[in-house]
């Protein structure tokens, strides 16, 4: 490793209104080095990278690449300087081939025809050099998530990127794919590329980086050589305090409350369900692990009532369900915590008060003769705000102005206040800070102790392992045989996630 700095950020500050997203952040990236940018969601990692890449303009501070200052707010300048970024959400054209996606926009507009042969041989060379196997002629829509990510990396390399930024690259990968990615990264740095690896997963950061920068609440909380630190120290830097894991007490298993019998559905944000059978029992948290896009969204939508089954049957508390809808699900005592709290869980431009009554506004408690009782609604909102420790200016505040954690607490309050029998928690802690995560976990465990049946869908395997009494793995729309707490190792779960072995006997 040489010590030439290829990238230098000096005193970057970015404010959004009263919020300081980045506060005087400075660091250098050396040639052939992997820096891990570690921090909770909301710590300012993505903002910083967006400034580096020219999507945002910093209020203060400068960026220099290869000793030349980058003009702020110009993504082309960053590209020209040899900075490539692989976003969390891919930016590929699904209906075009891998080759077209990679070569797209690299050629002068004055040359209408793409020189496919030259492009193909270059892509082949890059693929072979860095272990990025992918068929250039394949249509992107036919590729797996891991393959798509390889296309994104190839795209950056094709544009002769010397600095590669990867934003949470492993969130969508299986454990095996993650290992392949890490091997690729090692090959890249061996060729002299420099990498910024953004993550909030400690074990990955330890595995892949040379140096770790920890961001907390917009500030650089610490900088460590990877070999002279450990996960515990990094976690403390990241959170600012020691985190205690949630305590799980044994609970008597009760009656089955929700029963899916060979249920199938249409595709929905990924795979649909393929003859899935699942029983949720009182006093039990069932953890559903899996790589994103394998049918979790379809299962969540089915239980939430927003999608109807195309086959099979659902029964709640022993009674078969006829007509299925969100109203029916709520009526049967199913509480729903949706995956996307902004687009689905709340109505952003309406007030806190209007949002907390949204699942029950038709009940006699909140409406009479078609008129809403705003006094009752406000009282209920104040109750939820107090009971669930929501920080918000008033029940009249637009819910959009709340932070993710407070929004989630309101959704929790709305869902859990009626003491539901069944709780569907879909990615309930995604994007939350550590305090809010612990709070959500406590609430789910409390519901379990009270005798609720909880289905926890999460991409965070550690969360699943910590909370679940029983774990099922979803792959390609099918469920594995359940395993009890501690029965399967992470490696075994990982193989099930990748679709190997142990499918459910129908």
């Amino acid at each position: 490793m040489t010590s030439t700095p290829v990238l230098r950020l000096s005193g970057i500050t970015k404010r959004f209104g009263p919020l300081v997203a980045n506060d005087a952040i400075s660091f250098e990236l050396k040639r052939g080095e992997v820096i891990a940018l570690l921090g909770e969601n909301g710590a300012g990692k993505t903002t910083l990278m967006n400034i580096l890449f020219g999507h945002y303009v910093a209020d203060e501070g400068t960026v220099a690449a290869f000793a030349k200052p980058l003009p702020p707010g110009d993504p082309h300048a960053a590209l020209d300087a040899g900075i490539g970024m692989v976003h969390q959400h891919f930016t590929l054209a699904d209906n075009m081939t891998v080759l077209e996606n990679i070569a797209l926009g690299t050629q002068s507009l004055w040359r209408p025809r793409l020189d496919r042969a030259a492009a193909r041989s270059r892509i082949g060379q890059l693929s072979a050099d860095f272990g990025l196997a992918v068929d250039p002629a394949a249509t992107v829509s036919s590729l797996s998530v891991g393959e798509r990510q390889r296309v994104e990396i190839l795209k950056a390399l094709y544009r002769e990127a010397r600095i590669l930024i990867l934003d949470e690259p492993t969130a969508v990968l299986t454990p095996a794919e993650t290992e392949a990615l890490f091997r690729t990264l090692k090959l890249l740095v061996a060729k002299g590329l420099s990498i910024i690896f953004i993550s909030h997963k400690l074990h990955e950061v330890m595995a892949v980086s040379d140096r770790v920068l920890v961001l907390r609440a917009g500030r650089l909380a610490g900088e460590r050589e990877t070999k002279s630190t450990d996960r515990k120290e990094l976690a403390a830097l990241m959170v600012g305090q020691e985190v205690k894991p949630a305590e799980v007490t044994p609970v008597q298993l009760g009656a089955p409350l929700l029963l899916l019998d060979r249920v199938s559905t249409a595709r929905h944000n990924g795979a649909g369900l393929d003859e899935v059978s699942l029983t949720l029992s009182a006093g039990e948290i069932t953890g559903l692990a899996g790589v994103s896009g394998n049918g979790q969204a379809a299962l969540a939508a089915l239980i939430a009532g927003t999608r109807r089954p195309t086959g099979g049957s659902i029964s709640v508390a022993g009674r078969a369900i006829g007509d299925w809808s969100p109203q029916a699900a709520l009526g049967h005592g199913i509480a729903r915590i949706p995956e996307d709290r902004h687009a689905v869980g709340t109505i952003g431009d309406m007030s806190v008060m209007e949002n907390v009554i949204a699942e029950r506004y038709g009940s006699p408690r909140f409406s009479r003769m078609g008129f809403l009782d705003w006094k009752a609604a406000r009282a209920f909102a104040e109750e939820i705000i107090a009971d669930y420790d929501v920080k918000c200016p008033s029940p009249e505040a637009r819910i959009r102005l709340l932070s993710g954690g407070n929004m989630q607490k309101l959704i929790l309050g709305r869902a859990l206040d009626p003491e539901p029998a069944v709780i569907l928690a879909s990615q309930p802690t995604r994007g939350l800070d550590v305090g809010a995560v612990a709070y959500v976990h406590r609430m789910l465990l409390a519901a379990r102790e009270r005798g609720a049946a909880v289905l926890l869908i999460s991409e965070d395997l550690e969360e699943i392992l910590a909370l679940s009494d029983r774990i099922v793995v979803m792959s390609k729309g099918r469920l594995s045989v359940p395993s009890a707490r501690g029965e399967r190792s992470i490696r075994e779960l990982g193989e099930l996630m990748a679709g190997h072995g142990g499918e459910q006997a129908a």
Binding site: F16, G17, L19, A21, N41, G42, G44, T46, T47, H55, Y56, V57, G73, A217, A304, G305, T306, S325, P326, Q327, L330, R336, P338, H342, A343, V344, G345, T346, I347, G348, D349, M350, E354, A358, E359, Y361, G362, S367, G370, F371, L372, W374, A397, R398, R400, L401, S403, G404, G405, G431, D433
Partner: protein, 363 residues
């Protein structure tokens, strides 16, 4: 903590727009005033180009709109149909049902009024007028129900269907006026018979044109305000308008709400046709509306979709039209300046609304 998914600035090459927190009441009230001032400044350029003094022209417009009892009553008369169509648009737009067809619904209201009001129902006024109003509202509502069903069932864009229905309905009226509804005593003009005395809305002041349609319009605005603010339906409509997917998730019957919105919106627009025929014109002609349905969109937007604001913005828009007519008779500036003023005020208002929500940063 910053959540990126909902605080995205809008990025362009020349400027960027950053979201602002909720505007204060003072700002919310100040911006429409600023928009009107900007409108006057912009249109004064045209007035200068026409060779007149902007100040005297605007004075004449104001005098023509509100400078005498006659002028004021004329403005309120002209505002009456605009209140109805403005409410129709405000209600629909609030639920993001893009009803561009208030013009068609207005004419349907007019058709129902002459069909039932020319002697077919021999009833006293107190019964006949409510019956006609209800029937007109139902007809207007049903006319918008079609596009709403097509939207929810098949995803057909209601902007297109409601807009095209305007032309279809106008041709249909033309067919009726040349056929079954043609007044045999009309000397061949395409007009219907006059409605009978029992079907007429009385004048508010004897001998003046202002009629009780204006009172009904004000009451309608208050009723719509109550619906939007206080009722379950209003709550559902706002939720569906802000976030249909979220509304569906929490169990709001989105499609049914859109149907109810369509019935209410179409019904309100039809009341404009009823009120024009029954209160002012007496019969149905092809020029019953000089585009009140379209102006209703401007009225609703100027009012920021607030039902009570619709009253004020309808009077403002009507005043400009009436005042410009009066002004053009004195100054040598064509009354088309009224169209420009109304159109400009819409644009400045849209900009003002944008500025209350976003902060502009120039690059």
């Amino acid at each position: 903590m910053l959540s990126h998914s909902h605080l995205k600035p809008l990025e362009g090459n020349i400027m960027r727009l950053e979201p602002k927190p909720a505007p204060s009441l003072a700002i919310t009230l100040l911006f429409p005033v600023a928009a009107i001032v900007a409108t006057l400044l912009l249109t004064s350029l045209l007035v200068l180009a026409a060779g007149a003094s902007p100040l005297s022209v605007f004075y004449l417009v104001a005098k023509g709109a509100a400078g005498s009892q006659f002028a004021l009553l004329e403005t309120l008369t002209r505002a009456t149909p605009l209140i109805f169509t403005g409410l129709a648009v405000a209600v629909a737009f609030r639920a993001k049902l893009w009803n561009i067809g208030a013009e068609a619904q207005l004419y349907v209201g007019g058709i129902v009024t002459v069909v039932l009001g020319t002697g077919a129902l021999p009833l006293p006024s107190v019964v006949l007028i409510p019956v006609i109003m209800l029937a007109a509202m139902m007809a207007g509502g049903l006319l918008l129900l079609g596009p709403a069903v097509l939207k929810t069932r098949f995803g057909v864009d209601e902007v297109v269907t409601t807009l095209l229905l305007n032309f279809i309905v106008l041709l249909f009226v033309s067919m009726l006026l040349e056929g079954v509804l043609k007044d045999p005593m009309g000397l061949g003009w395409p007009q219907s018979q006059k409605v009978i005395a029992e079907a007429q809305l009385p004048r508010i002041i004897q001998g003046k044109r202002l009629h009780y349609g204006f009172v009904i319009a004000i009451i309608s605005a208050i009723v719509v305000w109550v619906i939007m603010k206080k009722t379950v339906l209003g709550y559902e409509m706002r939720a569906v308008g802000h976030n249909p997917e979220g509304a569906r998730f929490v169990g709001i019957p989105v499609n049914r709400v859109l149907m109810k919105t369509a019935l209410l919106s179409g019904g309100l627009a039809a009341l404009a046709g009823f009120s024009e025929v029954s209160g002012l014109k007496g019969n149905l002609t092809l020029d019953l509306s000089p585009g009140y349905g379209y102006s209703g969109i401007v009225v609703a937007m100027l009012a920021m979709l607030n039902p009570l604001g619709v009253i004020a913005s309808a009077i403002f828009v009507a005043g400009i039209f009436v005042g410009a007519d009066a002004m053009s008779r004195v100054a040598k500036v064509p009354s088309y300046i009224a169209d420009v003023m109304v159109a400009t005020s819409l644009l400045t208002m849209v900009v003002a609304i944008l500025l209350t929500r976003f902060r502009v940063r120039w690059k």
